[in-house]
């Protein structure tokens, strides 16, 4: 049996006095899986993603990613974890608008200690592969939403992360740009990239994910794996 890359055990996240955003959740994700987390607003999707990304900590339970107990990391440790283990794509891109496109992409690599030349070469390769190389010297403010999301994906991939996390990656995009991002995620998955994406978009989940986890009120209500080769679900 393959060691899961992500393992959550009895994870609960509670904010203030309200009901838990995530309730006693246990799940594991294997390497190479492309998992879509689905659910209505307030179901706990983003909370789950933030916990995996080390952006937030569980109120109880454990979060282990690539053998690292993320819930135990201090601030500096979780920063190193984010830069070395995961790549993140946000709905609203979260690019630094005072850095050029290439500088945005290069930043995590330089934080990881990659030499400038190597980081830039990798960044240009990624930008080229994602079709935004011509914008390398531009600032994000001049790019369309789809282009910005491609840059965000390039930035997420610069350190060849074990895990790619995407929070509503097509949520702020038009249909054409959304389709581009879907194709991109499929290509990455085909290359063996483990992907966890949070989305409202069923078509995105169907086209990109081999497994869908449905959350309602902070609980997993469905966990379906699609056998792509056989065209079956189980």
């Amino acid at each position: 049996m393959t060691t899961p890359v992500i393992e959550l055990r009895n994870v609960t996240r509670r904010y203030d006095d309200g009901p838990p955003a995530l309730h006693d959740t246990t799940l594991s994700i294997a390497p190479g899986e492309a998992v879509a987390i689905l659910g209505p607003s307030g179901s706990g999707k983003s909370t789950l993603l933030n916990l995996i990304a080390g952006l937030d900590r569980p109120s109880s339970g454990t979060v282990t990613v690539d053998g690292v107990r993320v819930d135990r990391l201090n601030e500096a440790g979780s920063a190193r974890y984010r830069r070395d283990t995961i790549g993140m794509v946000f709905q609203f891109f979260n690019l630094l608008d005072d850095l050029t496109v290439v500088d945005n992409v290069v930043l995590p690599a330089r934080l990881s200690g990659t030499a400038s030349g190597a980081a830039h070469r990798r960044a240009h390769q990624l930008l080229d592969a994602l079709g935004v190389a011509r914008h390398a010297a531009a600032y994000p403010g001049r790019l369309s939403g789809g282009e910005r999301q491609r840059v965000a994906v390039a930035r997420a991939l610069i350190n060849k992360p074990t895990l790619l996390l995407a929070d509503e990656p097509t949520g702020a995009l038009d249909t054409a740009s959304g389709d581009d991002v879907k194709r991109l995620l499929n290509e990455l998955h085909a290359d063996g990239q483990t992907i966890v994406l949070v989305t409202h978009d069923l078509t995105l989940a169907e086209s990109c994910a081999t497994r869908t986890i449905r959350l309602v009120d902070g609980r997993v209500v469905a966990d379906v794996t699609r056998d792509v080769a056989a065209g079956r679900t189980r």
Binding site: F92, D97, L107, L111
Partner: protein
């Protein structure tokens, strides 16, 4: 370049407004601090500093050349307790005339010295150069010859051959050892036939901190040369006392201005930096999301603040040192000192303090932002906390104002922390203006009170001045006819509202040694600028107002009766008030009629006239002088309409510091609004998409600062008044002066209202630039901007 370096570089280069604001704010604050610090240093024991720097003489002794010799005087250097001597220098006295205008000048004591330097009494040249040969003279900065004496030819008309000397320099002696210095060979030429030349010796003693110690030193010297040879001495303690009496009045104000500059600078720069870093929370969240550690975030943001601050600090030190040159020169003139420039350690402390302040505030603000949960930090600016400001929004929506304005008015309540930072900037600015206006106003009143210069027109009946320190108030004897002619001319002149005359004389005070100086008034002088510390002004004969020192010396209080003795006759007077007087001597102010029996012929020293409202002072003086021509007296405009050079200097200084600090406060607001507007650009896009015009956008952005401006103005004005109420009397007290309420109660309701409105003015001016930027932003761009 490292990742942190790249983030720092982009942050500095691309956040131009923020970078410029931090740089400029720091520069202005450092300039103000260097100026303020220099003033505080210059105002710290100015006489003692000058005395130490110029190796002042503890004792200046004048010897009669007929009774001693230069050799015997030189021998006094070996007297026990004497640590250093200078001299003997030949001296002579004379009364020169300004050859160009044939005007008699004050008598002067001339000393023959070959050099301005020496082990004692190092003379500092403030103008020109030292004498290089006969026919040249360097005058003391205290000698009354006018502001530009260089080149003036002084002719000694009483001497054979009428020798003439050309002024080649102006020098300052800390212990006032002479009125002028000449080549030793000129002293002989200036000595009248048959007269004996004198000698001057300057001494420093091992112990000279008390009058008793100086008496012992003088006695030891006299024992060597003989009592008959000693013509006179001057103690450094006497000079110090006179010097400090003059400067004490202004010292608190200069220190207050200096401290104001420094304290406000610290507060404003701290606020600007904290605001700049605090508004970068979302960017910090993104940096953390991609792997920046909290330490890297802190380093990046401290560096981002320090780079523009370093440029600002460098510029501020240069500007501060340049501006300090004229300011310190004026302070030197005021204190009678010589300051080489800004002390190196003032620069060092200001630079260190500024770096420390910027680092500390940037560190604290970025640490706070760095510690925020990353998800919360990223959400800042995109998703305001739910519920925040809703009540205010509902409330403002009901106001009968255009909707863009009501939207703007509710804005501070949605972002209370940012509004608080902006409020702080406005409070600092308004408090500074209020305090500075108050101090300047107090200072003007002090000047009026000091000179009792409330009259519009004055007629002096004094004779010409005599001596370098003329005996004050020596009236030219007025006959009864002359007095009548003057009063008739005043009464007959159209425009005269009221007038009084004042005569002065000495009276004894029963129960105390020495005498008191009596000011006897004819007519109502209550409007004459005699400010009361307590009690009231005299209203009838038999009443007296006195200076504080009089009450202390006689151990009396207001309401007590004290007996003044004049020509053996006792004149009881009841003390009704304590008069503010900077010299704080034994002074008694009473009605001339009180002494009608003992001094029926008190001679008026001056007449003081108040003109009816709207009367032209110049025209009045011209007309009155025409009427006075036969009597030989001259009326002059009073000082109430003008200000002394010192007051002009201090007012200019107050205006400069105020402008600088208000500019910094305005930049703080600008910084906040720029960052807020940038963060809200998406929201602005929505408003514009819904039909908000550029003008309405400007109105909304400007309205968003009005509430903060009003609150800041109100708080700042109150804080400024409170500061003034505490600081000015305390500093006056520290200088040994009790300031009367008329000098400390300077704020009027209307003026305070105007000062309070300075708050919204600062806020609106600071918001105009970003408001224009918001209005010009294209809707499509705004809608898709992150």
């Amino acid at each position: 370049m490292s990742a942190t370096g790249r983030v720092v570089r982009s942050g500095v280069a691309r956040r131009r407004v923020q970078t410029v604001v931090i740089g400029l704010a720091t520069m202005i604050a450092v300039t103000a601090s260097v100026l303020g610090g220099s003033l505080v240093v210059a105002s710290s024991a100015p006489f003692d500093r000058a005395f130490a720097a110029q190796h002042g003489a503890h004792l200046t002794a004048q010897f009669d050349g007929a009774e001693t010799t230069a050799e015997r005087l030189s021998a006094t250097a070996r007297v026990a307790g004497v640590t250093a001597v200078a001299g003997p220098f030949s001296t002579v006295s004379g009364t020169p005339r300004d050859a160009a205008v044939d005007r008699e000048l004050a008598p002067m004591t001339l000393v023959g010295r070959t050099a301005s330097s020496g082990t004692i009494d190092e003379l500092l040249l403030s103008q020109g150069r030292w004498v290089t040969g006969p026919g040249q003279i360097v005058v003391s900065a205290d000698y009354p010859i006018g502001p530009s004496p260089l080149g003036t030819v002084l002719r000694f008309a009483d001497l054979p051959g009428q020798p003439a000397l050309t002024v080649v320099g102006v020098a300052r002696s800390v212990t006032r050892t002479a009125d002028a210095w000449v080549s030793p060979s000129d002293v002989a030429a200036l000595t009248a036939p048959g007269a004996t030349r004198g000698y001057q010796m300057l001494y420093r003693f091992a112990d000279a901190s008390t009058a008793a110690q100086l008496d012992r030193g003088r006695a030891a010297v006299t024992a060597v040369v003989g009592t008959e040879a000693l013509a006179g001495t001057q103690s450094w303690l006497t000079v110090k006392e006179a010097d400090e009496r003059t400067t004490a009045l202004f010292l608190p104000f200069l220190v207050a201005f200096g401290a104001l500059g420094m304290v406000m600078s610290v507060l404003v720069v701290g606020n600007v930096v904290a605001g700049a870093v605090g508004t970068a929370t979302r960017r910090i969240g993104i940096l953390k999301a991609i792997g920046f550690t909290p330490a890297q975030v802190v380093r990046a943001y401290v560096a981002q603040a320090l780079i523009p601050a370093a440029v600002g600090i460098a510029g501020g030190v240069v500007a501060g040192n340049l501006l300090a040159i004229p300011v310190l020169a004026d302070a030197d003139q005021l204190y009678d000192t010589s300051t080489a420039g800004v002390a190196w350690w003032v620069d060092a402390v200001v630079v260190g303090g500024a770096f420390g302040m910027v680092t500390l505030t940037a560190w604290a603000a970025s640490l706070r932002a760095g510690r925020l949960r990353t998800v919360d930090a990223i959400a800042v600016g995109r998703t305001p906390r739910p519920g925040r400001g809703r009540s205010a929004a509902r409330l403002t929506a009901r106001l009968p104002l255009p909707r863009p304005m009501t939207l703007g008015l509710a804005r501070p309540f949605a972002r209370p922390a940012r509004a608080a930072a902006m409020l702080a900037a406005v409070v600092f600015g308004t408090a500074t203006v209020t305090f500075a206006v108050g101090v300047a106003s107090s200072l003007n009143r002090v000047q009026i009170a000091k000179d009792h210069a409330a009259a519009d027109v004055v007629i002096e009946t004094l004779g010409p001045p005599r001596g370098p320190n003329p005996v004050p108030d020596v009236p030219r004897p007025l006959s009864a006819d002359e007095t009548t002619r003057i009063t008739s001319a005043i009464t007959a002149s159209p425009g005269t509202e009221k007038y009084y005359s004042v005569a002065t004389t000495e009276v004894a005070v029963a129960g105390t040694a020495g005498s008191a100086r009596l000011y006897a008034f004819t007519g109502d002088a209550s409007w004459g600028g005699y400010e009361m510390v307590s009690g009231r002004w005299i209203t009838k004969p038999g009443e007296a107002a006195v200076a504080t020192n009089f009450l202390t010396a006689t151990r009396t209080r207001i309401g007590d009766t004290v007996v003044l003795a004049d020509h053996g006759k006792a004149v009881p007077v009841r003390i009704v008030g304590e008069v503010f007087h900077p010299t704080n001597d034994m002074l008694v102010f009473t009605d001339a009629a009180t002494f009608a029996a003992t001094k029926p012929t008190l001679i008026a020293a001056s007449f003081h006239i108040r003109l009816a409202g709207g009367a032209d002072v110049t025209g009045y003086v011209t007309a009155l002088n025409d009427a006075l021509t036969p009597s030989g007296f001259t009326a002059q405009p009073g000082q109430s309409g003008g200000s002394s050079e010192t007051i002009v200097l201090l007012n200019a200084l107050a205006a400069l510091l105020t402008l600088m600090l208000v500019a910094v406060a305005g930049m703080g607001v600008l910084n906040m609004v720029v960052l807020d507007t940038r963060e809200r650009v998406g929201e602005l896009g929505i408003h514009k998409a819904l039909g908000m015009t550029p003008r309405q956008t400007v109105a909304m952005v400007v309205a968003s600062v009005v509430v903060t401006g009003l609150a800041g103005g109100a708080v700042g004005a109150v804080a400024g008044v409170a500061m003034h109420r505490v600081v000015v009397p305390a500093m006056g007290h520290g200088a040994g002066i009790t300031l009367p309420p008329a000098i400390t109660d300077v704020y009027q309701p209307a003026g305070l209202l105007l000062l309070g409105l300075g708050g919204p003015l600062i806020a609106v001016v600071g918001a105009l630039l970003p408001a224009g930027w918001a209005a010009r932003t294209r809707t499509a761009v705004a809608l898709r901007t992150e």
